[in-house]
């Protein structure tokens, strides 16, 4: 199953490495990890997505809670949260593929950020599933570079 954790942490040095270390040390898997400051400069927010069995997901939550620099852990249910991811992707094109590429971008709601003689840089922000699908669709064009932010999530209501 998928575990989405929204974690508020103290915004100070060493906290990210503590959290990352916790996952590596205990063999927990990280699908994605996104960190940023909140409206309070001394608190950062992390969204951590992990795939594991139920017991491991429970353990992750408990171990996150155990960290002294973790202020709050919320486990988000996929259906009851909004999850978004942003991706920048550079794809090569030819005269033959150019128009179908632009069409695909328009269908998927992706934006063209830059065009050079041989490549197009595209931006998409959407749910993690759509971003993943879009990435798959672009494979046939020839992907040159990918940058993803990782998922950020927020509970509805």
């Amino acid at each position: 199953m998928k575990g989405i954790f929204s974690v508020l942490v103290e915004n100070k040095d060493g906290v990210l490495s503590q959290i990352a270390g916790l996952f590596s040390r205990r063999g927990f898997n990280i699908d994605s990890l996104a960190v940023g400051e909140t409206d309070k400069h001394d608190i950062s927010s992390m969204t951590i997505v992990s795939t594991a069995d139920q017991r491991t997901i429970d353990q992750i939550e408990k171990h996150l809670n155990k960290k002294l620099d973790v202020i709050k852990v919320r486990r988000l249910e996929e259906a009851k949260a909004v999850s978004l991811e942003m991706m920048l992707i550079k794809v090569s094109y030819t005269a033959q593929t150019r128009s179908s590429l632009i069409e695909l971008c328009s269908v998927m709601g992706a934006k063209i950020m830059h065009i050079s003689a041989k490549s197009i840089m595209i931006e998409i922000h959407n749910t993690p599933d759509v971003v993943r699908e879009f990435l798959e669709l672009l494979k046939s064009f020839g992907i040159l570079e990918v940058q993803r932010t990782g998922t950020i999530s927020m509970a509805k209501g």
Partner: protein, 541 residues
């Protein structure tokens, strides 16, 4: 007041009167402040930093308060890491103060720089790198609080040399209040869960308590004893839980697990309700937790919620402090009739036949541990090292009203001698005996100097079989007797070593002289080494 003086003031405010360590340039300002306060805080100079950690561990376990160890930066600090890992695995509250290079040089790989926060991340409960001298009072207050509450454990304070020298910008004051928004251990135990626990006990026909090290760390021996006696509920213990009740207690059915009593394991196998209290359900105690989970009702009580469900999914989890929980359980309406169950357990106990065969050459290690612990004072401290000696000790130790200290979590060889020093310095009037093999002895034998200089009247009993015995046993059973790198031979000459450090020396090489020599060894008023020769053919199983 400078940072170093503030550090000492913090220790005084916490009531610290003894610390263990080795100085160096990076911690020199602190030692200068310590010099000014030498009437209030005694510094015990050990001979290697790991021993500072283990000695502090022994001290903490006897005083039941956090104990302090101090090292310099770089190698001094890294030498301490094994002791921190040991304390962390056994949940012993320590405050480790390590000197660090000047803050302006951090990250430049200068002489004796080691990233201690990074290196100890998984071996401490929490750590600090002090960058602002004015944070010292707050950090020390928090460190002692964190070390001694919730699931206790070691806390590291790494402090650059220049921060120790800097002046505080305001007058020193030790904060009363602690504001840590990410740290609020659950103590009381959830009310609904408590109701479920009480109902489960009332339903049980064959209830059993398994007491772990957390019972002792949580000062819960008395309340759990009272609960068992009131409701006639039997208990077994893990290795770290030895000492919850006396061995002769009619409700006690021994240590469980791989190295435990067969009748303790039989009790677990036949129970219909198992209450695991302050235990990790670790592999040595419960080899196949998934089997338990399927078969019986498991109540898992621990202060650390992350321990619950780690190895097995309990039927009823309950997070909280043992004294609160068992205090409430003691007052609860519980009616269980365990008469038949207790008779059955007694029967298991009396019909269990020990099939192990011991050599009739030299000293029988089982007889040795039994005789020694029977002869020791009622409230004596027995510190078992790691290896065959630990397993023979746990198996045969006769607990009266004393303490059984060992490292069941990390299993660090060489623990017993420095831990015994710490225990003895905590309560000099108590009899303290370290029991170790000749292998473990040599991992801490430099501490004989600490014993001699400080006139620490500890007793060291060495089981000499000239092997790293437990590995030898493993190689015999698993690797067809291919003994690889395990033979120690007849060194050192223990009599000469005792002489070199002004210690008394005793020796026994037969069961016939054992009692007499043990009497002399225990009666000796000063520090002493006693060597008992054991046939290396003796195994633990």
């Amino acid at each position: 007041m400078n940072g170093a003086q503030a550090m000492v003031e913090c220790l005084k405010a916490e009531g610290v009167t003894k610390i263990f360590g080795i100085p160096g340039v990076a911690i020199a300002p602190f030692y200068e402040a310590l010099y000014e306060n030498r009437q209030q805080i005694e510094h015990v100079l050990v001979r290697q930093e790991q021993a500072a950690g283990h000695a502090a561990s022994g001290y903490a376990r006897i005083t039941r308060k956090p104990a302090v160890c101090v090292t310099s930066s770089g190698p001094g600090a890294t030498n301490l890491i094994t002791a921190l890992a040991t304390a962390n695995a056994d949940s012993i509250p320590l405050i480790a103060i390590t000197g660090q290079v000047d803050s302006s040089l951090l990250g430049h790989d200068v002489f004796q720089e080691a990233d201690m926060r990074g290196a100890t991340e998984s071996f401490v409960k929490y750590s600090y790198l002090v960058k602002n001298v004015n944070d010292i009072p707050r950090i020390f207050r928090e460190a002692f609080h964190v070390a001694s509450t919730g699931r206790t454990g070691p806390v590291l304070i790494d402090i650059p040399c220049d921060v120790q020298r800097m002046e505080l910008s305001k007058a020193f004051s030790y904060p009363e209040e602690i504001r840590m928004r990410g740290y609020k251990p659950s103590v009381m135990g959830n009310g609904q869960q408590m109701t479920k626990v009480i109902a489960a006990i009332n339903r049980a026909k064959r209830p059993l308590i398994c007491a772990g090290g957390g019972v002792i760390l949580g000062n819960g021996e008395e309340v759990i004893r009272a609960f068992c006696e009131k409701n006639r509920i039997p208990l077994v213990s893990t290795m770290m839980g030895i000492g919850t009740v006396a061995k002769a207690h009619p409700l006690y059915f021994g240590m469980l697990g791989n190295n435990g009593k067969p009748y303790a394991n039989k009790a677990v196998a036949n129970a219909d309700l198992l209450m695991i209290v302050g235990a990790r359900v670790a592999d040595r105690a419960v080899p196949k937790p998934e089997k338990l989970e399927r078969r019986l009702t498991v109540i898992h009580i621990d202060i650390d919620s992350a321990e619950i469900g780690k190895m097995l999914g309990p039927t009823i989890p309950l997070v909280g402090d043992i004294r609160h929980i068992f205090g409430a359980l003691l007052d609860a309406q519980i009616h269980v009739d365990t008469k038949e169950w207790l008779e059955e357990l007694e029967n298991f106990k009396h019909t269990t036949v020990d099939h192990r065969v011991f050599s009739d050459r030299l000293v029988n290690p089982m007889t040795l541990v039994q005789t020694l612990s029977e002869k020791m004072d009622d409230d004596a401290v027995y510190v078992a090292d790691v290896g065959q000696n630990q397993l023979w000790s746990a198996d045969n130790y006769v607990m009266k009203n004393g303490r059984f200290l060992t490292t069941g979590g990390m299993g660090t060889m060489g623990y017993s001698i420095p831990a015994a020093i710490g225990a003895k310095l905590a309560e000099p009037s108590r009899q303290v005996v370290a029991v170790c093999g000749d292998g473990a002895f040599q991992m801490s034998m430099f501490e004989l100097a600490t014993i001699a200089v400080n006139k620490v009247a500890v007793k060291i009993l060495v089981l000499r079989n000239e092997y790293l015995g437990l590995v030898r046993e493993h190689q015999e059973k698993v690797y067809e007797g291919h003994y690889s790198g395990v033979q120690l031979y007849a060194y050192p000459h223990f009599d000469k070593l005792a002489g070199a450090y002004d210690m008394a020396y005793f020796h026994s090489d037969s069961n016939d002289t054992l009692e007499e020599e043990l009497d002399r060894f225990l009666a000796c008023p000063k520090a002493a080494i006693m060597v008992c020769d054991i046939d290396s053919a003796n195994n633990t199983k």
